[in-house]
């Protein structure tokens, strides 16, 4: 994102930030697909597709998109936990604390 010559960040920090940006981009693509594409742009064609008792686009508009939003934030929180651990940016040592092992 920055391409800045004065950057003070280490390679490890840059790699972490790149992974973070990539994850955000992927999740926001899904976010736009379920809300703006499925429930608004394709609202008319998808309302002829039946999803159990409802037209598919209606289900996305009033139920499905919200459920997907929840999944997106949980995926983000879990994936970032993994990244924090992998790149050693945990603010609190989760594993050690959970196991009750001291460093």
């Amino acid at each position: 994102m920055t391409g800045d010559s004065h950057s003070q960040l280490s390679e490890r920090q840059k790699a972490y930030w790149r992974k973070n940006i990539g994850l955000i981009r992927n999740l926001l693509i899904v976010w736009a697909l379920v809300s703006y594409v499925a429930a608004i742009i394709l609202a008319k064609p998808l309302s002829t597709v039946q999803f159990f008792g409802l037209p598919l686009s209606f289900w996305f508009a009033q139920q499905g998109s919200i459920l997907v939003f929840i999944c997106l934030i949980f995926i983000y929180a879990v994936r970032m936990d993994t990244l924090d651990e992998k790149y050693d940016f945990q603010e609190v040592r989760l594993k050690d604390r959970n196991k009750g092992v001291s460093t």
């Binding site: 920090q13 926001l28 008792g53 924090d84």
Partner: protein, 563 residues
């Protein structure tokens, strides 16, 4: 015990809990007052965000509003939940890493300018003020509806309660009362929805009943038969471009609302900020996926029980006679055939339903015990009070922290700052109460103003502050001003009948986008102006560029972290 006595008892019990928490949480330093000492666990913060977020209107009016809008009600459902994805992925973790007290704090420091700080503080105060006026009114309305007290008395009682726990306990008191308030409101809402879902479909889970039975289809067919709009078809009430724009404006506005953003400062770590966002959306979605189901059930039931039924027979039903007395349900046999007809034409339609009745009447329609009716009253109050408290803190901290301490009197000591914070929140309660008693013309336009302005001013400035290292003071200030002024003027012009009392709106729409969606255009203008101006002026100073890098990466306790 009569229903009124029962309602009074339940409301008094909840109020006693809120007051006790305020007393228990009393704080002695500004860090506890503004951000609860960063000690709130992520799940509790999630519940507090949900209560902060869901106002009296979400609780009482939203299901009804959606049942009138049909498919197009998605603007509120997606708009007010999808914003949390943006907030949690794009803003919250970095603001937590930055770690100060308010939104203007971040904007002022990031853009190394007290001018930017002042503009952000004014935007924060204005956004929160429009919003809080409606909340205080809501408290008064719940009191008058359930306990037959005057609206003014209701507003005064609400002010007293909020003032007590907010002044004593600051953010800490507000947070823990919000956790309790969330519990009260969600229990009341779900019991009601589960009961009517079971009564009409035999399935107790409203979301499942809506998706897997044909009840929505039956409602849609019924509406078509009566000449009303097809419930399940898109764009019957709003054009496609407006559904798109309003949904996006509400999402961007959600992510830019100061009273929600400051809640992310109250947790310990960046990780906890991410998880608060996740829990917040779970708690919010519990109500937001239930509301459309409740709307369908209640509307179907209303039409079934009233359409083509003899007036005298209908008036025998308890809930019908009760709600016609309040004026929320109007039955007039206009053609004199002794029966009631729903039609789409104002002159022949014989049943007029206020949208609030969808939630308010459902406990009685579903024959729930008076205890649940009383709980719904307490839930409505909890929703309005919790949102009011969060807004009051956001607007008073913008004045006491950003304007008083950071701009006017940087030498103020801890004691003076805490005193200023308490005085400001007290003044904010008085102002909110005054607007609750004398609602100004713009109170009905809260959604357009608060969300439009947050989307067009604060959201782009914070986002660019994190993701565009090259963004500088000039770009941000010009961008915020452009977004703010454009959106503000557009809403005034489009809503001139409600605000200035003109016969017709000065302009109907901008490129087909209405007042609720105009914040999107304001936000786009903000982004463009910020980009162009920042590239034409010098880069921000070295230490600001380092600040931007610093907020992007959590601190870390590992050995490799010390670089």
């Amino acid at each position: 015990m009569s229903l009124e006595a029962l309602t009074l008892v339940i409301i008094l019990i909840t109020f006693a809990i809120y007051i006790y928490i305020g007393w228990w949480a009393k704080v002695k330093d500004t860090k506890s007052f503004y951000v609860a000492g960063n000690e709130i666990p992520a799940v509790a913060n999630g519940a507090a965000i949900a209560a902060d977020w869901m106002s009296g209107a979400s609780f009482i009016s939203m299901a009804g509003l959606i049942s009138f809008l049909g498919y197009d009600g998605t603007i509120y459902l997606m708009g007010w939940t999808g914003g949390y994805v943006l907030l949690t992925l794009l803003l919250a973790p970095y603001l937590r890493k930055y770690g100060k007290y308010t939104v203007p704090d971040f904007i002022g420091d990031r853009y190394y300018s007290n001018g930017a700080r002042a503009v952000a503080a004014i935007a924060t105060v204005f956004i929160s003020l429009t919003y809080v006026a409606g909340q205080m009114r809501g408290v008064g309305i719940v009191f008058s509806r359930y306990l037959q007290v005057d609206i003014v008395v209701g507003v005064l009682i609400g002010m007293g309660i909020v003032a007590f726990f907010a002044i004593l306990g600051g953010m800490k008191g507000i947070t823990w009362t919000q956790v309790v308030q969330y519990t009260v409101l969600i229990v009341a809402y779900l019991i009601t929805a589960i009961a009517i879902s079971f009564m009409l479909t035999g399935i107790p889970i409203p979301q499942v009943a809506l998706t897997f039975t044909d009840i929505a289809q039956r409602l849609s067919n019924l509406q078509v038969e009566l000449g009303l709009k097809e419930y399940l078809a898109p764009f019957q009430n709003l054009s496609a471009i407006n559904v798109f724009a309003v949904t996006l404006a509400l999402m961007l506005g959600t992510a830019g609302l100061p009273h929600v953003i400051i809640r992310f400062y109250t947790v310990k770590t960046v990780r906890a900020a991410r998880w608060s966002g996740a829990w917040a959306l779970v708690f919010i979605a519990l109500l937001y996926t239930t509301a459309p189901a409740l709307g369908v059930f209640a509307k179907y039931n209303l039409i079934q029980s009233l359409n083509n039924k003899p007036v005298e027979e209908v008036m025998q039903v308890d809930w019908v006679s009760k709600w016609t007395q309040t004026g929320l349900l109007k039955l007039e046999d206009k053609n004199g055939d002794g029966k009631l007809q729903f039609t789409s034409d104002k002159d022949t339609n014989e049943v007029t339903i206020d949208r609030d009745i969808i939630v308010l009447s459902t406990p009685e329609v579903a024959k729930l015990s008076p205890f649940v009716v009383a709980l719904v009253a307490a839930g409505g109050l909890a929703a309005a009070l919790s949102t009011a408290a969060g807004l009051l803190l956001a607007m008073s901290s913008a004045v006491s922290h950003d304007i008083y301490y950071r701009i006017l009197k940087p030498e103020a000591n801890e004691q003076q700052r805490l005193k200023a914070a308490r005085i400001m929140i007290f003044l904010a309660v008085l102002i909110a109460g005054w607007f609750g008693v004398h609602p100004p013309g713009f109170v009905g336009e809260v959604v357009a103003f608060a969300f439009g302005l947050a989307a067009a001013s604060l959201f782009p400035a914070i986002l660019l502050g994190i993701f565009d290292q090259r963004m500088n003071r000039q770009g941000a200030i010009w961008g915020i001003l452009t977004g703010l002024i454009f959106t503000f003027v557009m809403i005034l012009l489009m809503r001139s009948p409600q605000i200035f009392g003109t016969a017709k709106p000065v302009i109907d729409s901008f490129l087909g986008i209405n007042a609720q969606g105009i914040g999107v255009v304001g936000a786009i203008l903000n982004f463009i102006v910020s980009y162009v101006v920042s590239r034409a002026t010098e880069a921000p100073p070295e230490e600001i560029q380092q600040l931007v890098e610093d907020i992007r990466i959590p601190k870390g306790v590992g050995q490799a972290a010390s670089h």
